[in-house]
Symmetry: C2
Subunit: 560 residues, 2 copies
Amino acid sequence: MKIILAQQNYHIGNFESNTQKIIAAIEEGKKQHADLMVFSELCICGYPPLDLLDFTNFIEKCNESIDMIRSHTQGIGVLIGTPSVNEKKEGKNLFNSAYLLYNNTIVDVVHKSLLPTYDVFDEYRYFEPAYAWHTMMFNGKKLAVTICEDIWNLGDNPLYRICPMDALIKEQPDVMINLSASPFDYTRIEERKAIIQANVAKYKIPLIYCNTVGSQTEIIFDGGSLVFDKDANLLKEGKYFEEDMLTVNFLDNGSFEEMSIATSKEISSVKWNPSVYDQHLHTDRIYDAIVLGVKDYFSKMGFKHAILGSSGGIDSAVTLAIACEALGNENVHALLLPSQYSTGHSVDDAVALSKKLGNPYDLIAIQPVFDAFMDQLKPIYKDLPFNLAEENIQARTRGNLLMAVANKFGYILLNTTNKSECATGYGTLYGDMAGGISVLGDVYKMQVYALANHINRNGEIIPQHIIDKAPSAELRPNQKDSDSLPDYSLLDAILYQYIERHHGSKEIIAMGFEKEMVERTLRLVNISEYKRNQFCPIIRVSPKAFGVGRRVPIVANYLS
Amino acid sequence: MKIILAQQNYHIGNFESNTQKIIAAIEEGKKQHADLMVFSELCICGYPPLDLLDFTNFIEKCNESIDMIRSHTQGIGVLIGTPSVNEKKEGKNLFNSAYLLYNNTIVDVVHKSLLPTYDVFDEYRYFEPAYAWHTMMFNGKKLAVTICEDIWNLGDNPLYRICPMDALIKEQPDVMINLSASPFDYTRIEERKAIIQANVAKYKIPLIYCNTVGSQTEIIFDGGSLVFDKDANLLKEGKYFEEDMLTVNFLDNGSFEEMSIATSKEISSVKWNPSVYDQHLHTDRIYDAIVLGVKDYFSKMGFKHAILGSSGGIDSAVTLAIACEALGNENVHALLLPSQYSTGHSVDDAVALSKKLGNPYDLIAIQPVFDAFMDQLKPIYKDLPFNLAEENIQARTRGNLLMAVANKFGYILLNTTNKSECATGYGTLYGDMAGGISVLGDVYKMQVYALANHINRNGEIIPQHIIDKAPSAELRPNQKDSDSLPDYSLLDAILYQYIERHHGSKEIIAMGFEKEMVERTLRLVNISEYKRNQFCPIIRVSPKAFGVGRRVPIVANYLS
């Protein structure tokens, strides 16, 4: 039985494009004489569809797509993910389902049992879990079909009380097939392989794992579909961050035909200690993920041109280089917006960067606009001393100018805020916090440096001076980030323990960080919730990003 | 057995203030010789605590609060809501629990079974449901204690597969007691009473229902705690939108002592047809809810002074009047920001309003700043014609000036956008969409008029001219909202069918609305998701508000 895994990039709610893409893969499968095509979780509508599932019409469109795809299944089986209606009058209205289509018929249907409802996942908001399980018969083989999270409960995962594969294995299936929409974070690739391998080790039958790929606003799916033989050897591995098709030939004896083994049983080669923050961990895949995040945001929104404020600092430099990689240098417009407090180097460095990258740039001084603001505010401000208010006016003048050019020419503003700033609220709402999507909002400052070095790995793209100089917002004379914040190497390590690891102040202090610094940092995080609440979507690369995966009440008074 | 219901306003994560408030009520209960005090759901930490529940330290603080409260329970029973740890190594880490405290001991614990995970609710994100049920013995009585949603499944609610009261009733309890955190929307008061009454009708024992009160960022809890006798007569009803204590004397014969019956069995006097949009429905309670929402946002965030842009239009007028009611007129600063396109009336009307309300106001013309922006943009804009970009520059200049005054003096910017604008994206990001909290973001334009008339019910506060004139953003010559949008009476009715009722274009057109208008309106809603994503929290008064209760993917391409 020839099986093809289709690892594809879908667009949520774009039924026409998704259906065409799926049918094209089936037609290609027919050419290759495939017996069975495997697609990913909820691929019909794209994952995650969120509250669009509440519209009857949305579910009707899913069914229409299934009907269209069904008409292309003469002589070829198709395993495909779609929402389906719960006909019983109890529980939620929908299931998260896998359909087996063959010869223009819906041959069989199974539903997802374990519904992730944590971090970025909200599946129990929409779906009723399955309470009964059965294998599917196809081509004389018994298929144990599960959906994503279903195989993540191996007895050591305390999140669920049931384990669907424990039920399915009783029917003595020939192969496990999992339809997935498993998002990327920089820890995930090894973890995912280990979990899937552990399923094979436990149930001792082959496993075919088809993941989706592509970015959906903030969530990136990295692909990397997998095929394991019954001895837990990895036979095939899909590409990461791009579409792919994997072909395997499943023999009657329950093994796969003549295939070299991709890796040994020992999957995870990276020895990562999650209890310690490592700014250099997986910089390469973080870079690839963010590039895909920018690319897909623009293509799925129908945008072509980006704009960003290029300050001569490290954050905007890395953002600019990533945007040029994702969108093409000619489509990324840099706007240099020096203030009276900007050093000469700032402009020189920003110009040098754009010359190196070959992207268009313009320069607008903000001083005349700032002066006009101050003139108009004079009757109210009177002679009060310069403080944060004036710094914010400058930052917002920059935001306004960036949006003015963006609106006039149809560009989308890329936000350049990093995760350390986002965490501590070190940024101005409607100023440097403006933008359509945040490129670096899930990488700490020290990771931004690692990305800069990665970008320069084959020769200098980002001028070394940008990497070497001390960070500054340049909103008052001789301002440095270090005036307001701890050293980034310490700050990032504390933030990591708080955000990613959920440790409280007591535990972080016990790790050896200075008490005053820890308490001040955690306080900054907690009083900045209102700012993050109005921040744009952040391309997610870590196990705990700000945004949809982290929900904290704004009016809360909880500071440790 | 004397029972007192404590309907209190808590502050999420403010353990000190919540614990003090609870202990004060217990001490008052002791004075009144109460046998049992009933508090609301998760009152120890405030509801909803969201991801703060992920911190071990947060749960420890809940337990410390329980210990402190426990030490005040000599001779008095206390039923109280708190998160508790799931000691089993399967399922989620926490339960949403009710503790019975007595004589410094935790006498009994029950857990919530039905975990709302829809709209603004995310309970399955955090909690494991109860799978077994038992009544609590106290003072010789059997108490069937449930938590909020637990009593909302009466067989006709298709959301759940179990019904905890069906299990509890088998133990022949004497009374049902429900600890609740049930949020307000304008349809909710009648619905809630009807559900609770239906429980009494079904189980034929009395029911004591204790709700929380107060606003938590966007979600308003309206109080209105209830006591029903076994014949489903409403005996007591707590105040709405304020704290209250209700005392009942539960007799050995299973009835309540000598109490006049508050209302007849027929609870719902408002004949509301949810399939038709009614802009006048419950204007009074919407007003009270929003006033509480503003008041609590400021008090819980530790703010005192508000600022807003007063344009002479209806939205800012209603916002200003509400803010003066909530915060005191002397604490609300109006900033008049006329453009060159503003009519003389705009300033006159705004001044007249502030004189009537007695709140401080200032005027800053935006033209000089706009001119400075245009000068600086000239080399890039060249001679391109005036369009939306220039309108946005003016709106953002206003936003910048408002934030400039807010930052200098420590004021919080109130947003004046209404739900019709928010739905259609008729507003400028970082301009008129700026603000700390949205006062009118959950009331459609026609409801804003109803609120204006309500504010004027005892005499003119909002000048009639503001109510009568045609709405305009005044960002280009002779601009009117009706140039860009359908008539608000039609627009609001279409939006209501789409947002609140989840009808698609086909269904709405079938109701008799014009096809082109419906499709254009729905398209505007769907392409504005990115704007709403960066909008501030909206005080929620409807069954479907934008914000946390409505989650739509930004990159989705789904337009009907």
